[in-house]
Amino acid sequence: MESFQWGWLIVVYLFLGGLGAGASFVSGLAVYLGGRDAYRNIARWGAYIAPFPVMLGSGLLIFDLFRPWNFYRLFLTLEPTSPMSIGSWLLLIFTGTSLFNAFLWLPRETKGWLLSRRRLRRWMRGLEWTWRGDNEEKLRSVLAALGLPLSAGVGLYTGILLGAIPARPFWNTPMLAQLFLFSAFSTGTAALIVLTSFTREHALTGGRDAKLLYTLDILLICLEILIIVPFILHAYLATSSIQHSLRLILGGPYTVLFWIGVVGLGLLVPLALEAYEIYPLLFKRQAHHSRALEVASGLLVLAGGLLLRYVFVFGGQMSHFDPGAAIALAGGAVALP
């Protein structure tokens, strides 16, 4: 009987961490792409949603500890060989900068309103310089630039956390970190596709926002597929313990979930939907402007991202560093020692 040390909390945490990192990355890109303010709406909403999934995910992570009262110990040290130690610091820095960035993107009226609250006044006075003159624009650019490597770091970390363990052959391949990174960015993009489709400014951009998000997401989904294919090839041709672990998704307990859930509904179907939607935008035809399609493709990508992490977190814990298992399966008579 397998016992899973890491469960749903870790699955959701890896998903949320990736989602926040992805939203931050897309927001940062939107600041720099297409000239000043071309993608203001994406940059703004990306900045708004980036910190909160990561904060919630980190909370879940602490909740999953069985000695949670000691969690502050993570921040009394930096263990350079431990992905979790580096990741914790990354999450802390990411949360700080992305919260500040979200604040910077608040409209002036909201900031003025916050300033008028008696309880918040002292805090807001301290922050008033951030929107004086053109400080706001400058700071947004700086934080966007800072956010790009930081969110790449958080996205990569969610994969390296699992990938850096030789004892779990299903995780221990050089491709897992990239798969999780691109999946993270893809879920962040998908969250923005869903969210911005409900914003007022969305229709006004005449499909320009949608075009950017779809292009990004199509690119990221393709990258994921281009990693899954060599992931399987590599694993199939690797040492017996890695090869053996591949049976989890090739005829094992996670086969249906992986191929139908992750690859089918999470990658191929949204890829088709997004290609259908971007086609008229690319060739200047009458756009579909279908919110149902936007929301459907976005939600499918999000569900696929969650499932991907479910398959890897649970499946990986069923794989062991045990070349002997493959020999036993081959049915050969093992010589007496």
């Binding site: 110990r73 431990s82 004892a167 007496l336």
Partner: protein, 187 residues
Amino acid sequence: MKQGQGRIKRYAMVVEVKKCFNCKGCVVACRAENNVPLPISRNWIEESGIRGRYPFLGQTFEPAACNHCERPPCERVCPTGATYRTPEGIVMVDNRKCIGCKYCIQACPYQARSVNRRDKVIEKCTFCIHRLEEGRIPACVETCMGGARHFGDLNDPDSEVARLLAHKDSYVKKSEAGTRPAFYYVF
């Protein structure tokens, strides 16, 4: 440390596989000595299953526990430095630093660690360090009625473990994991 140069010990366990007959006395002794709650255990016996072809049949038993690796993967991944290795080569957990993330459980190729839900600590073999400090040997070694288990200092060439490893063929578990265990098996 070169022999005779210092007093640093390098503890190791050596098991004579052919002398183990699966009585599980060591498992019971460990539970009693270290107050380990069910259902977990710090040590266990791995059974090879019946091998060979009739009438030439046989099976072996390998007592196993934490291998006290020279390069412990659990120590490498520990985010707070709670898992550490003593100068004598014993891999220990400092409970004041442990946050309970279970990363070490994932990282151990031997599945030698488990969560003690009663005391909220990571449970693993300590080579009975509290007994070593009193000059006694680990409980599992003391109780072993087949005389299969040996414990001692590898840096002392006259120790039982050093002599066994010098004169017999030995192996460690999953040597390809690169962990360099201090838990040896001899035939």
